[in-house]
C-alpha cells in the first residue's frame, strides 16, 4: 500500500493540500510559449522554477525542452530582477538567436513587483533586442490559479501581439487550449479537410514530437510564427477551445482587434467534437466533408458495438477543467458514470458545468474544483470505481485500490503515445475508447474465472 496513510474518513482541510491536482502558472506559460515558432521561453525567477518545468515537460514528452531563466540570486530578489532579465535577453539573442523570447514571471518576480513591459522597453532602448525580433511577456504569479491559468495568460500575451491592419485575412483563429501536439496537428488536419483556413496558436506540433535525425534544432520547424500571430488580428473570428485556457486570449482579440469569438469546449468526445465541427463549418461557411462524417460515424459505431462494456461503469477523473468538462460529457454520452471528478484549478463555474452535464445520471456525483488527489482517493475509498482516468500520479491510487487506470492529461511520465496520436476529434475519440476498452477488458480477463474466460468479446 503505497498510500496507506490515506484514511477513508474524510475530514475537512482548509490549509493543507495533499497530492495536488494542479501545478503552478509558469509551466503552463512555458508550454504555451513552445508553440511559437523560433521562440525561447524564459522564466523570470529563480533558476529552480525553470529547471522543474523543463524536467516535467521533458519527462512528459521525452523531448528536449529549451527554456532560459533569469537565475535570481538573493541580491536580485531584494533589488529586483531587471538587471538579470536585461542580461538574459542579451545573452539569449546572442547565443541562441531565437525569433522571440516569451517571458513569464514567477511567484518571486511577482512578489518583488518586477514590471515586464518596463523592462522590455529598457531592453529595446538598450538595443538588446535585434531588429525583427520579438519580446512578449505574461504575468504568471504561481500563487494565483494553476498551470492552466499560466497557459491562458501566455495565450493572452500572444493575442496581445495581434494587430488589426484593416484588411481581413479570411482566416479563422483557433486557440486550441492546452492539448497535445498531436491534437493541434489533428485540428489542422480537420480544418484542412473542411477547407477552412486557420491560424492556430499556440501550436506545439512539430516542436514537442520531433524526429530523431542526428541533428538537434533548438528551434524546430513547428510552432506558429510571430507573423501569423500578429496577423490573427485580421481574422474573421476566433474559436477558442476551452473556457479556462483560451477564452481570455480570444476576448482580447475581440476587444483589441475587433475579431469576434466563440468559446467552445475542447473537442474531446463525440458531442464536443460535433459542436466544434459545426461551429467551424458555420463560421467558415463551408460544408463538412464525407471523410469527417465517416470518422464520426465510426466513433458512433464503436460506441454502439462496445456499449455493453462501457455501460454503467463508474469512473473517477482528475485533470484540468477544460479537459474534464469534455471528458465527463463524453463518458456520460457512452453511458458510463463519472462519479468522482477533481481538478486542482479553482473555479466554481467548473463545478456547475459538471453538475449540469451529470444531472441526468442516476447516481451521486462528487465534483470539486481546488480539490486534490488525496481527496479523490478518499472518495474512491468511500465509493469504489471501475476505472480511473487521469495523469500518471493516479497510478498510486490505482495500485493501492486495484482499479484499472487510463493515463490521460498532464503529466504522463511513464507511457508514450500522447505526442503522436490525438485524443481530440472523432479519431481521438476512437483512440480514447480503444484505451478505455482495453483497460476494462484486460481487467475483466484478469478477474474472470477460468470458466468465464472467453475467446470472443
Amino acid at each position: 500500500m503505497l498510500l496507506r496513510h490515506t484514511p477513508q474518513v474524510i475530514t475537512e482541510r482548509k490549509a493543507l493540500t495533499i497530492n495536488p491536482a494542479k501545478t503552478c502558472q509558469p509551466i503552463g506559460a512555458m508550454y504555451a510559449s513552445l508553440g511559437i515558432k523560433g521562440c525561447l521561453p524564459h522564466s523570470h525567477g529563480s533558476q529552480g522554477c525553470c529547471a522543474y518545468h523543463r524536467s516535467t515537460l521533458t519527462r512528459h514528452y521525452k523531448e528536449p525542452i529549451s527554456a532560459a531563466t533569469s537565475s535570481f540570486t538573493e541580491g536580485a530578489s531584494v533589488f529586483g530582477g531587471q538587471a538579470n532579465l536585461l542580461q538574459a535577453i542579451n545573452n539569449i539573442f546572442t547565443v541562441y538567436e531565437p525569433e522571440a523570447i516569451a517571458v513569464h514571471t514567477t511567484c518571486l518576480s511577482e512578489t518583488i513587483g518586477d514590471d515586464l513591459p518596463q523592462i522590455f522597453n529598457k531592453a529595446i532602448k538598450e538595443k538588446k533586442v535585434p531588429p525583427g525580433k520579438t519580446l512578449l511577456g505574461a504575468p504568471t504569479p504561481s500563487y494565483v490559479g494553476s498551470h492552466v491559468t499560466g497557459f491562458s495568460n501566455m495565450v493572452k500575451a500572444m493575442a496581445g501581439l495581434a494587430e488589426n491592419t484593416g484588411t481581413r485575412n479570411g482566416k479563422i483563429n483557433i486557440l486550441p487550449g492546452w492539448v497535445e501536439p498531436s491534437d493541434m496537428e489533428e485540428i489542422k488536419r480537420i480544418a484542412a479537410l473542411m477547407g477552412v483556413k486557420i491560424s492556430i496558436y499556440p501550436d506545439t506540433s512539430g516542436v514537442l514530437n520531433t524526429p530523431l535525425t542526428g541533428k538537434y534544432n533548438m528551434f524546430p520547424d513547428g510552432g506558429t510564427s510571430i507573423a501569423e500571430i500578429r496577423d490573427s488580428g485580421n481574422a474573421s473570428g476566433t474559436l477558442a477551445l476551452g473556457e479556462w485556457c483560451s477564452a481570455d486570449g480570444a476576448r482580447l482579440l475581440d476587444t483589441q482587434c475587433k475579431v469576434p469569438c466563440s468559446i467552445l469546449d475542447i473537442p474531446v468526445g463525440l458531442k464536443a467534437t460535433d459542436r466544434f465541427i459545426d461551429a467551424l463549418r458555420t463560421v467558415a461557411g463551408t460544408s463538412v466533408p464525407d471523410e469527417i462524417a465517416t470518422e464520426r460515424g465510426r466513433l458512433v459505431d464503436l460506441i454502439s458495438d462496445m456499449h455493453q462494456y462501457f455501460y454503467g461503469k463508474k469512473v473517477a477523473l482528475v485533470g484540468d477543467p477544460d479537459q474534464l468538462i469534455s471528458m465527463t460529457e463524453f463518458l456520460v454520452s457512452i453511458d458510463m458514470l463519472p462519479v468522482h471528478i477533481i481538478t486542482g484549478t479553482p473555479g466554481k463555474k467548473f463545478e456547475k458545468r459538471i453538475q449540469e452535464i451529470t444531472a441526468e445520471l442516476n447516481c451521486e456525483v462528487n465534483v470539486k474544483a481546488k480539490g486534490d488527489m488525496f481527496l479523490l482517493h478518499q472518495w474512491i475509498k468511500n465509493e469504489p470505481v471501475d476505472l480511473i482516468i487521469g495523469n500518471s500520479y493516479c497510478k498510486y491510487i490505482a495500485r493501492d485500490e486495484d482499479i484499472p487506470f487510463v493515463r490521460w492529461g498532464f503529466p504522463i511520465l511513464d507511457r508514450q503515445g500522447h505526442q503522436y496520436f490525438p485524443s481530440i476529434g472523432y479519431m481521438g475519440g476512437l483512440r480514447l475508447l480503444e484505451k478505455i476498452l482495453n483497460c476494462l477488458l484486460d481487467r475483466k480477463e484478469r478477474d474472470d474465472t477460468e470458466e468465464k474466460f472467453e475467446l470472443v468479446l
Partner: protein
C-alpha cells in the same frame, strides 16, 4: 554519427576556444574560468572557478536551493512529513520525481514519500502573510498522520514576505509535544545552485535531529554513510554488502533514512563520505561534536567498492572484519569479472562525457575505466572548487555574497556525547598506513591529462562539445537527455539512472556494464538516415523483378 566522421585529434585549448567564441565578451570571460584544460602547470593543476552564479539567460543544468534541500536531502526521508510552504508548484515538481527508494513501504515505520504536501499559498497569503495558513497546515498534517516529525520548507516568496517559519515550527513543536517540527529557509533564490540547499538541509538535520535518539544502537563496526541517496536502490546494494561484511550502518544521510536513524548518527564510530559535495561539512561537524572521524569512500565501481570496504576494515583494525571483507570481495568480484569480460570487447575504446551532480561525474569514471572507456570531458553541476581540486583548496576559497547568506553553524564538542573514537596516535598510525582522514583529492586528479573539465556546463556548450568531440556516450540529467540524443549520441542519466540501477556496489557494477553495453551498441543509432537520404539519386530505370 558514424565512426568515420570522428575527430581523431583535437587540441583541448581549441575546443575551449570554440566553446567560448559565440558568447558576449562578459559571458566568455566568466565561462573561460569555469572551463579548464586538465594539464600540469609547474607542479600544480590549474585553478577552476566553481560555485559561482549562473549566468542569466544561459540555459543551465542547475536547479535551486529548495530543490537541493527538499528534493535531494530531505526527499528520501520516509517518516518525516515534508511540508512545503509556498505556491503549489514547488511541492508538485518535487513529488516522486527523484527515485528515492525506501523499504519503509511494508514497515511499521511511516512512509510519506508518496505524499506531496503544500500550503498552496494564494495571493491573499502573499499580501497578508502566510504564517496563519502554515500553522493550520501543520495542525492538519499532524491530525491526519501523527508523524514523528514535520519539516517545513520555505519557497521563494516566503522569505520575501517575511513569514517566520522557524517561529511557527517552534510553536507547533511545543504545542504537540510528541512531534518534532523544524523548518528550512531554503528559498529558491538563495545560493547559486542546489548545493546551498544541501547545506541548509544538513545543518537543520544536524541541529534538530542528530543526537535525539533514546535508543542505543548495537552492532559491530558502526558507521554512518554520508552523501548516499539510494537512487535506484544504490543504498540497498551498499547495505547488502556492508551487512554481508558484518559492518553496521547506523545512518545513511539520507538514502532510505528515517528520523531515528538520523537521530542515532552520533552513535557511529566512523563516518564514510560518498558525495563529498553535499555533506562533507556534516562529517566535520560529527567529528567536532561527537568525535567521529571520517574518511572518503566510493561505492561506485567494483574496484572502488572493494577499496572502500578495505579502508573501513583498516580503520576498525580487526582481523575478523578484515578477513570477512576479503571473503566478501572475493565472492562478489567473481560475477563482476565475468560480466566485465563479456561486455569489455564491446565497450573498450569508447569515449564518454560526464556532467552531473557534485560527485557522480567523478565516481562514475571508475566504472567507465572498468569498461575500458575513456572520459573525454567532465564536470559538476553544483560543486565547489574543492570537489575539483581537492580539499587542500578549502582554506583559500573566497566566500562571496551568495555563499555568505547560507547559514554556517557553529559546532563544539558535546558536553555529554563527545567521545573521540580514536586517539591522536591511532589516527596518526592509520594515516601512516594509508588511511586518509578528511581527505578528498577531487575530480581533476582522477582525469587524464588534456581532458577538459567544465563547471556548470550549459546546453550550448554541451551541444558544441558533442559536435566537436563526438563521444560514444554522454552522461547528465533529464533536461539534457534528449537534446544530446537528437544528435545521435546515447545519453545516460546519472541523476535518475533512466529508471535503472542500482549501479553501486558489485551488483550495481554488473548492472552498469550491461546498461552501457546496451547504450553504446544499440542498433537504433544506425537508423537516423532513411535509405533515400543515404542514396538520394533516383534510379532512372528501376529494377523491376
Amino acid at each position: 554519427m558514424g565512426k568515420a566522421q570522428k575527430l581523431v585529434q583535437w587540441d583541448p585549448h581549441d575546443i575551449k576556444d570554440k566553446l567560448l567564441e559565440k558568447y558576449p565578451p562578459k559571458v566568455a570571460r566568466k565561462r573561460a574560468k569555469q572551463i579548464m584544460v586538465n594539464e600540469a602547470l609547474e607542479n600544480s593543476t590549474p585553478e577552476i572557478t566553481a560555485n559561482v552564479r549562473t549566468i542569466p539567460g544561459i540555459i543551465t543544468m542547475r536547479g535551486c536551493t529548495y530543490a537541493g534541500c527538499k528534493g535531494v536531502i530531505m526527499g528520501p526521508t520516509s517518516d518525516i512529513v515534508n511540508l512545503v510552504h509556498g505556491p503549489i508548484g514547488c511541492s508538485f515538481y518535487a513529488w516522486l520525481t527523484r527515485r528515492n527508494q525506501t523499504d519503509a513501504i511494508n514497515d511499521t515505520n511511516a512512509n510519506y514519500i508518496t505524499y506531496a504536501m503544500s500550503t498552496d499559498m494564494q495571493d491573499s497569503d502573499i499580501i497578508f502573510g502566510g504564517e496563519k495558513k502554515l500553522k493550520a497546515a501543520i495542525q492538519e498534517a499532524y491530525d491526519l498522520f501523527h508523524p514523528k516529525a514535520i519539516a517545513v520548507f520555505a519557497t521563494c516568496p516566503v522569505g520575501l514576505i517575511g513569514d517566520d517559519i522557524h517561529a511557527v515550527a517552534k510553536e507547533m513543536k511545543t504545542k504537540f509535544g510528541d512531534c518534532n517540527v523544524f523548518a528550512f529557509s531554503c528559498e529558491g533564490y538563495k545560493g547559486v545552485s542546489q548545493s546551498a540547499g544541501h547545506h541548509i538541509a544538513n545543518n537543520q538535520v544536524f541541529t534538530h535531529v542528530v543526537g535525539d535518539s533514546d535508543s542505543e544502537k548495537t552492532g559491530e563496526y558502526k558507521i554512518n554513510l554520508l552523501g548516499e541517496y539510494n537512487i535506484g536502490g544504490d543504498g540497498f546494494e551498499i547495505d547488502r554488502i556492508l551487512n554481508k561484511c558484518g559492518i553496521t550502518n547506523i545512518s545513511t544521510f539520507s538514502g532510505n533514512a528515517t528520523y531515528d536513524k538520523f537521530a542515532s548518527a552520533n552513535q557511529a564510530d566512523l563516518s564514510c563520505v560518498m558525495c563529498h559535495r553535499s555533506i562533507n561539512y556534516v562529517a566535520d561537524m560529527l567529528e567536532t561534536k561527537y568525535g567521529i572521524p571520517w574518511i572518503k569512500v566510493n561505492f561506485i565501481g567494483a574496484e572502488a567498492t572493494a577499496k572502500s570496504l578495505r579502508k573501513i576494515a583498516q580503520y576498525f583494525n580487526d582481523e575478523k572484519l578484515t578477513k570477512k571483507v576479503e571473503e566478501v570481495i572475493a565472492q562478489e568480484m567473481a560475477p563482476v569479472v565475468a560480466a566485465r569480460k563479456d561486455v569489455f570487447p564491446r565497450t573498450s575504446g569508447k569515449t564518454a562525457m560526464l556532467f552531473v551532480g557534485g560527485s557522480r561525474a567523478h565516481h562514475y569514471q571508475e566504472l567507465f575505466t572498468e569498461l575500458g572507456m575513456k572520459t573525454l570531458s567532465a564536470g559538476y553541476e553544483f560543486a565547489h572548487r574543492d570537489d575539483y581540486e581537492g580539499r587542500h583548496v578549502i582554506p583559500h576559497l573566497k566566500v562571496d555574497a551568495d555563499s555568505r547568506n547560507i547559514e554556517e553553524i557553529e559546532v563544539s564538542p558535546d558536553p555529554q556525547l563527545y567521545k573521540p573514537r580514536k586517539s591522536e596516535e591511532e589516527i596518526k598510525k592509520l594515516e601512516a598506513e594509508g588511511v586518509d582522514f578528511k581527505e578528498y583529492a577531487g575530480l581533476n586528479e582522477a582525469m587524464d591529462e588534456n581532458t577538459i573539465v567544465i563547471d556548470d556546463l550549459n546546453q550550448y556548450e554541451a551541444e558544441k562539445l558533442v559536435e566537436l568531440l563526438k563521444p560514444d556516450l554522454f552522461c547528465a540529467g533529464i533536461k539534457e537527455k534528449f537534446s544530446i540524443q537528437k544528435l545521435g549520441v546515447p545519453m545516460k542519466q546519472l541523476h535518475s539512472y533512466d529508471s535503472g540501477g542500482p549501479y553501486a556496489g558489485f551488483t550495481g557494477a554488473i548492472n552498469f556494464y550491461n546498461e552501457i553495453d546496451r547504450l553504446v551498441n544499440s542498433r537504433v543509432w544506425g537508423y537516423m538516415k532513411a535509405p533515400w537520404q543515404e542514396n538520394p539519386e533516383l534510379s532512372a530505370t528501376y529494377a523491376w523483378e
